[in-house]
């Protein structure tokens, strides 16, 4: 069950809204404070990517963001742009996805167009920020889904199950 679901038209102005909602939801879910800045950046990059993909093919369909907080705080950002599914990689291997545009240190920035830098840096940021990152084709549909998750520090009730903070020492 999604905790928060957000869909927005592919306008750059709405990416900030998605970041704000994402961070607020993460905080509410019990993500550690020191991860919130990474989450803000990662959601922004994933949404910027989706907006750019929709705009590149003139698609006005909404970008979908779904957040859940079961055992981890998980964010799914889904675009619906035709052609992007071909670039989705093995969901078990984000490196395949990154091969689309390898995030390497630009040794000669003079040779790089700004747009190429943005695409490359966006991927580099996502890969560098998010330990648990998957990009996959939308099942049975058109587009790609970026799935990212972060641990929760929320404690379960002590007698709720096998783990409690006092016994973890």
């Amino acid at each position: 069950m999604p905790t928060v679901r957000l869909s927005f038209s592919p306008a750059p102005a709405h990416v900030r809204t998605a970041r704000l909602v994402g961070v607020a939801t993460a905080r509410r879910a019990g993500v550690a404070e020191d991860l919130l800045e990474e989450i803000r950046l990662a959601i922004g990059e994933a949404c910027s990517r989706a907006v750019a993909l929709h705009r590149s093919v003139g698609l006005s369909q909404l970008v979908d963001v779904v957040m859940t907080d079961d055992d981890r705080f998980t964010v799914h950002v889904t675009d619906h742009a035709a052609g992007t599914e071909a670039r989705a990689a093995d969901p078990k291997n984000p490196d395949d996805f990154l091969a689309e545009s390898p995030p390497q240190a630009p040794r000669t920035p003079d040779l790089l167009a700004e747009e190429a830098v943005v695409a490359r840096m966006g991927l580099a940021l996502l890969a560098g920020l998010v330990d648990d990152l998957e990009v996959a084709s939308v099942p049975g549909g058109v587009g790609t889904e970026v799935r990212m998750s972060w641990p929760l520090m929320r404690m379960k009730a002590p007698d709720d199950d096998q783990w409690s903070p006092n016994r973890a020492k």
Partner: protein, 120 residues
């Protein structure tokens, strides 16, 4: 927060002070301002990012574009970036090795205003 920008001259450099969030929505305005400065003849430019709360890949792209323009014209670009929050973005993308980053405006203008080439 909305993007804010102001320009002044210090230490032989044009200092562009930026505040707020630089993202996919606001970055085009930063790009326009940097192009305006270039077209008005500024070749030694310091962008003060001290007041920037958020910088994404779009903002990085704009800064790379400015660096490229200035270097092609034998100019120089220095970035004032004292906060870990933003430095991390430069490090993850390896752009900390491309840009000249400084802790203070004074350090940035001192280096950018004199060196022809501030690259390492």
């Amino acid at each position: 927060m909305e993007l804010s920008m102001s320009t002044r001259v210090a230490g032989g450099c044009t200092v562009l002070t930026v505040g707020g969030e630089v993202d996919v929505y606001t970055a085009p305005r930063l790009r326009e301002r940097l192009i305006d400065l270039f077209e008005q003849g500024s070749r030694r430019v310091v962008v003060d990012l001290s007041g920037v709360e958020f910088l994404d890949s779009t903002g990085l792209g704009v800064l790379v574009g400015a660096l490229k323009r200035l270097r092609a014209a034998s100019g120089a670009l220095g970035l004032v970036c004292p906060h870990e929050r933003l430095l991390k973005v430069f490090r993850i993308t390896a752009l900390d090795r491309v840009f000249s980053l400084y802790n203070t405006v004074e350090a940035a203008t001192a280096a950018t205003g004199t060196d022809n080439d501030t690259s390492a």
